[in-house]
Subunit: 347 residues, 2 copies
């Protein structure tokens, strides 16, 4: 597996998207977030998505230089229409608006529609922590992108709706929760399939609603479905998915999940909370820092080396990969090289 | 098990608390919420808590007629000091302030400290849905009340922090998620212990961090701990517990969970979002209603009769118990009768 430097991946990515009509600013936002995902070890939403968005532009799904429009606004709220531009660009704009509003009014909520895939959700709340705020983002599939069963039901009814929340701390890293409501994302099932491996029986239900360890059940008709997380209390993961669907889909014009949605993408709920409306930022950061220390002082359970807080593993991976470079899977790299040559991007 | 009418339980409860110094308004709030919990089938947070709060008053932990104070305020935010009055009264006041702020400014967030046990969290967001708003409430144990292990760790490090979210719909019931981040609440473990039953092995870890089916491990030294929900991905339930701890404890003056907290109770994060800042309420309710219909149209999985949305089961139980009365466990009823006679409350 080739290991490529951040600088090289960034340059290639930016040139690729600009060749296809993206503005330099758009290309920078998209590529930086994809590279950051890979740096953080979230490879499923990183470099391997380079070509997904290239294909999106070529098929007309992603509209470079789309005009972002605020459709409805109060001092604390806004609805942002992404007009099917780059999802990452739309999500960044939404969080910027939420932060601006929170700077003035202590809280800002922006809901988003007509937005393409925004990738790793956990990247956006970090914009808030960098401004001394808490950040919260949730998504649904803009009505579509169904792949998960409801608790107690059969079939692909919901997306694995996700939630990301981040808080600043006085450690080197913020607390960042970034969770999908499925036990495992579809990408992990596909990876097992490519590698000819079985999957744990709690990941997937076959088309009749029975747990299966065979990943082919996810892709061959009649298709199976991801399970909501929670194990024997999977109603909790399912319930959380319902809440995130309503926050993202019903508070935006995109709508909740449904059969036969015309399009798919991401509807978003984006919130920023100004910490200093509640206490001095330095005190809040110290409190969160103490909490991190307290959690990490726990005796590890059998089979564990240490207790990690949410966001810690990503931070450590990022430090390592910033120095060592990002491992890119052979096939992904080979495909990127082909497209780059095709578009006249120097390798 | 005696079955008692709502009217009778309400009268007895109100007289009990007033005999002990509660104002009529306080007694009404506390008893109505306890009765509503039992009506909704959440017996662990209902009538069986009558005497816990009686004991709280007698030991001085709960201060009747405590003065609630707003300590810090902006047009969208406030910090409420409950001064160790009734937790239910403090939480109701917090949600009322959040709703007032959201009526003016579209969003209101109130954090709460010096607050006693607030009971069932799911009762409070319903105040928001009744006003055409979304309601969100989370808690921690005010630094204490530790009973849950972290993911990958041993020991009682966190409370089973909880989250409740509700949205209005055009059905007879709102969508209400009310989840604790433990697989099962401590009360369920104690119930199994009283009944001499084994518990499922994913509920509890013994003092060495090993799964156990023996509920005595929860109460005898060295004590075991509840597990965060999520099964093989218990880091998700744990991560959610961390986020709720910071929202409730670090945004309020109460602080996050820690060893040897001086007191225990509930610190709260309480948010109301005015739906009409985003779309007409009637449209939002219709969207949520359609979503409920869509989810419920799912084919049930093997072993299930139907797919239920969050809040539906509670609604159905409430309809039934309003008509038939509330079943109260023999011992609970007998204890209530003893205390009632003691205080001169007519039975």
């Amino acid at each position: 597996m080739p290991i490529i430097s951040v600088e090289e991946l960034t340059r290639i990515g930016q040139e690729l998207y600009q060749k296809l009509g993206a503005s330099p600013e758009e290309a920078t936002i998209v590529v930086d977030l994809l590279v950051e995902s890979s740096l953080a070890g979230h490879d499923s939403h990183g470099i391997r998505r380079f070509l997904q968005y290239v294909a999106g532009i070529r098929t007309g799904k992603i509209v470079p230089k789309a005009k972002l429009e605020i459709e409805m606004e109060t001092p604390t709220t806004a609805i942002l229409n992404g007009n099917w531009g780059f999802g990452h660009v739309t999500a960044v704009k939404a969080m910027k608006i939420a932060i601006q509003k929170a700077q003035e009014a202590s809280i800002g909520i922006v809901t988003v529609h007509q937005c393409n895939h925004v990738g790793r959700l956990g990247g956006y709340p970090l914009m808030a922590t960098n401004q001394g705020m808490a950040g919260i983002v949730s998504n649904n599939g803009h009505g579509g992108d169904l792949s998960m069963a409801p608790w107690g039901g059969v079939g692909r009814i919901l997306p694995p709706n996700s939630l990301a929340v981040a808080f600043p701390s006085d450690h080197d890293f913020p607390v960042v929760l970034d969770l999908t409501t499925a036990v495992a994302a579809g990408g992990k099932v596909r990876l097992a399939l490519e590698r000819g491996e079985k999957i744990p029986k709690e990941w997937l239900l076959d088309a009749k609603g029975r747990p299966t360890t065979d990943p082919t059940a996810y892709v061959t008709d009649p298709r199976g479905s991801l399970q909501p997380f929670g194990g024997t209390v999977g109603h909790k993961g399912f319930g959380l998915a319902i809440v995130l669907d309503i926050l993202s889909g019903a508070l935006s014009p995109a709508g909740c999940s449904r059969m036969n949605a015309e399009v798919s993408g991401n509807a978003l709920f984006v919130q920023a909370i100004r910490i200093e409306a509640f206490k001095p930022l330095v005190e809040f950061k110290a409190e969160v820092g103490q909490f991190i220390n307290y959690i990490k002082s726990t005796t590890p359970a059998p089979g564990f080396d240490e207790v990690m807080v949410p966001g810690e593993r990503s931070y450590k991976t990022r430090i390592h990969r910033l120095k060592e470079g990002i491992p890119v899977e052979d096939e992904t790299w080979s495909d990127i090289c082909t497209v780059a040559q095709d578009l006249g991007v120097k390798l």
